[in-house]
Structure formats: structure tokens, C-alpha cells
């Protein structure tokens, strides 16, 4: 099982809070490595999250969740 975590977006403030803005992956979907999973935002900087591995994804956090870098947002089996 692979963890998908909220990324570091702001190098100057790695502890900054950001938003899980959009889930593109649906709960229980089969994803390929590199597939677009989500879009996250810290301040006005948006970032795409892609699947680190292939497998079935289980979503842990909801859209709109306010999170810090390292927070677990999904797992892929």
C-alpha cells in the first residue's frame, strides 16, 4: 500500500496550510502511475498531484479540506 500525501508547495513556508481543491480520481477507481489525482492550492499557487504508483485508490480526505504538507490524503493498493 502506498500513501498519497499533501505535498510541500511553498519552499519558503513548508508548514503552510493549503487546500485540497479538487479530486479528479474517484474513490475506488483504478489508477495508472502518473494519472492526475488531484489539484491542491497553497495561497494562489496551484499544483497537480499525480499517482506515484498504479493501483486502486481509496480517498481519505474530502475536497475542500485544509491540510499541511505530509498529511495523508489517499492510499493506493
Amino acid at each position: 500500500m502506498t500513501d498519497v500525501v499533501f505535498p510541500v508547495i511553498s519552499q519558503s513556508d513548508p508548514d503552510a496550510e493549503g487546500t485540497l481543491a479538487t479530486w479528479f480520481a474517484e474513490d475506488g477507481a483504478v489508477v495508472a502511475e502518473g494519472d492526475l489525482l488531484a489539484e491542491v492550492a497553497v495561497d494562489k499557487v496551484d499544483m497537480e498531484l499525480v499517482a506515484p504508483v498504479a493501483g486502486t485508490i481509496t480517498l481519505i480526505e474530502d475536497e475542500g479540506a485544509v491540510l499541511r504538507a505530509g498529511a495523508l490524503i489517499a492510499t493506493i493498493d
Binding site: T19, A21, T22, W23, F24, A25, E26, D27, D35, L36, E39, V40, A41, K44, D46, L59, D62, E63
Partner: protein, 360 residues
């Protein structure tokens, strides 16, 4: 879990004609769907290039060109000075020489500073030359309100562009159609005005409807310009609409189906020029009830045009007068309570539908 897994993809025409095996798709927001369509066409045809304000490193103010500069370089993704007449005119000239520019007018509201190039040149050169000169270009532009951007940054104005001969006008409501219509627009030898609502882009920094994320066919995907789609089949009331209002109409339709008030058919116009009159008439002939939802100004525009086409065809197909849910003839106000009174909200759409099916 709040994720909606009952996404309804927009159908292309009659639901009965859907292919048995759906093509492979991937879930994107409308902005990314547009960008991918542009990127595919830029790979396919080196005459396609993009220009506009902040389309390069910034990726477009509403994310219409994100990542294109990195992929294709500054010769093909060109940041321009604040000179709409200058750079839209330049796109026109390049198109007459056989290139296929995609030029962005950042907000449709800015058309005032460059409308001569658009309606007197881009739209008329083909006609004035007796068909001898083509202008194969896309003018893409962000439209729409609902996030308090005020009177000069919240308009839709598709009625204004549609009124003037010589340019096609397309208005997608969802990611798949945005990709398909962008591809069609780039390949079309005519000038096509591609109007995308900021509220359907699925941007992280603006409140979004769940349908701004949806499945987009991978591979070659074209939506024919001039064909509406049945976003939701129904039998009691026809709602003819476009752009963000399609999402609101679908939300209302689901609600009214759940409590048995009405079975609502939602027609997503997708194109205004050409307008799919046949699809509108076919639906209204079946239901006898028409609600037009149009985020443009009410008078002298799209909603009036649709009503006129019904009346010209056969007003007796109507069992009740037509309802129009549009922006009253006021500039879009800044204060949220006022803005949301002016916009064609789900509450106003619901009231209009209920008014159609209420006992006489």
C-alpha cells in the same frame, strides 16, 4: 465521502445513438480539457499557435493555456502587450496567410476596445472577399459572473457576438464538450468565438459546480459545431440553456425529479451560431413547455431569439407562455445579494419550471 460518482456526461445528440462501448476517458476540469485539446492540435499542426495577455508563463488568467509555454516555447505561445486591437488584428492577418491562431481576449467584457477588428474584420473578410480569403482562427474568451467581479468583468455577451454575421459562437458547459468544441473550432476554417464560463473551469480558487470536473474522451474527440445536446431527457418541461446554467438546470431537475414535481428535459445548446433550432423545436413540441435560462442580458438577445424561432415555427406547440430566466437589463452589481438577484440562479430556474407545470 462527498465525491459524486453519478456524473452525467453530456450526450451528443439523441441518447439512443450512443455507442455501445464508450471510448476511454479521463477526468479533468474544463480548463485542463481545453488545454489538452489545444496541445493536441498544436502537436498535430505547426500552423496552430496561441497569443494573448498572460497566456505564457502565467498560463492564462483562467488557466486556459496552463503548461503550453513549457511544451511549445515562446514562438508558439506568445505573451502580448495590452493591445487587443493590435494582437487580435495580428491574429486575423496571420490567419489570412494560412496560419491557425488561437487568440485570447482575457475577459469578454474587454471587447469594447477591439470590437472593430472582431466584427468588421475577422467576421467580414471572408464575405467581402467573396469567399476568396479565409480567416481560420479561434477567439477564446472568459465569460460570466457569480464571484463579485462587478459590471465590467462579469458579463456573458454571447447575444452581442451571435447577432453579428460572420463568426461562429460556441459555449461549452462541461469538460468533454470544451475539449471537443475547441478541437472543432481550431479545425474550422471560419472564425470561431469560443466562450468559456469562468465558473465551469473548475479552478481551485473559485467556487465550482461538481460538473466542472468530468470525463473527457482521450484520443481524437470532436464535438460538431451547431449541434445541441440533451443533457437530461425529460417529458414535462424543456429547459433550453447553455454554459454554467446547464449545471444549475441539472441540479434543479434532479431535485424536482426526486420529489416528483416535474420531469425536466435540459437542452444544452453548446453552440449559438449556428443555433440548433431543430433540437429546440423537437423538444418543445414534445413537452409544450419552455423555460429559457440565459446568463446574458434579457432583452434583445439569445433568449428572445429562441422565443422568436418557436413563434415563427408554430406557437401552438406551446401549452403555456415561455418563461425566460435571464439577467434583467441591469449592469451586474457588485454586492453579493444584488449580484445573486440578477443572475439566473437555481432558485429562479426552479420557480420558472414550477410555474410551467402548476395548474392553470
Amino acid at each position: 465521502m462527498s465525491i459524486d460518482t453519478t456524473q452525467q456526461p453530456a450526450t451528443q445528440g439523441d441518447p439512443a445513438e450512443q455507442p455501445a462501448a464508450a471510448p476511454a476517458t479521463k477526468r479533468l476540469n474544463t480548463a485542463k480539457a481545453m488545454v489538452e485539446a489545444i496541445a493536441r492540435e498544436m502537436e498535430r499542426d505547426e500552423d496552430v499557435f496561441v497569443l494573448g495577455e498572460d497566456v505564457g508563463a502565467y498560463g492564462g488568467i483562467f488557466s486556459s493555456t496552463t503548461g503550453l509555454l513549457d511544451r511549445f516555447g515562446p514562438e508558439r505561445v506568445m505573451d502580448t502587450p495590452i493591445s487587443e486591437t493590435g494582437f487580435i488584428g495580428a491574429a486575423i492577418g496571420a490567419a489570412t496567410e494560412g496560419m491557425r491562431p488561437i487568440v485570447e481576449l482575457m475577459f469578454v467584457d474587454f471587447f469594447g476596445v477591439c470590437m472593430d477588428q472582431i466584427y468588421n474584420h475577422m467576421a467580414k473578410i471572408h464575405f467581402e472577399s467573396g469567399g476568396n480569403v479565409k480567416v481560420p482562427m479561434v477567439l477564446m474568451t472568459a465569460v460570466g459572473g457569480g464571484y463579485s467581479d462587478g459590471a465590467q468583468h462579469s458579463q456573458c455577451l454571447w447575444g452581442t457576438f451571435a447577432h453579428l454575421p460572420g463568426m461562429k459562437v460556441v459555449v461549452p458547459s462541461n469538460p468533454a464538450d470544451a475539449a471537443g468544441l475547441m478541437t472543432a473550432a481550431i479545425r474550422d476554417d471560419n472564425p470561431v468565438v469560443f466562450m468559456f464560463h469562468k465558473g465551469i473551469q473548475g479552478l481551485p480558487w473559485m467556487a465550482k459546480n461538481k460538473r466542472s470536473i468530468g470525463p473527457v474522451p482521450t484520443g481524437d474527440h470532436v464535438v460538431e459545431i451547431g449541434k445541441a445536446a440533451t443533457a437530461r431527457p425529460g417529458s414535462d418541461v424543456t429547459v433550453v440553456t447553455l454554459s454554467l446554467s446547464v449545471h444549475h438546470a441539472l441540479d434543479v431537475a434532479e431535485e424536482l425529479a426526486a420529489d416528483g414535481t416535474a420531469d425536466v428535459e435540459v437542452i444544452d445548446l453548446r453552440s449559438i451560431v449556428p443555433l440548433d433550432t431543430e433540437a429546440i423545436i423537437e423538444s418543445v413540441t414534445r413537452t409544450g413547455h419552455l423555460v429559457i435560462v440565459d446568463e446574458d442580458y434579457q432583452s434583445f438577445g439569445l433568449s428572445g431569439e429562441i422565443a422568436a424561432r418557436i413563434a415563427e415555427h408554430d406557437p401552438t406547440i406551446l401549452k403555456a407562455p415561455i418563461s425566460r430566466v435571464a439577467v434583467p437589463d441591469v449592469p451586474i452589481p457588485y454586492a453579493r445579494p444584488l449580484e445573486y438577484t440578477a443572475l439566473p440562479t437555481p432558485a429562479r430556474i426552479k420557480e420558472a419550471i414550477i410555474g410551467q407545470v402548476a395548474p392553470a
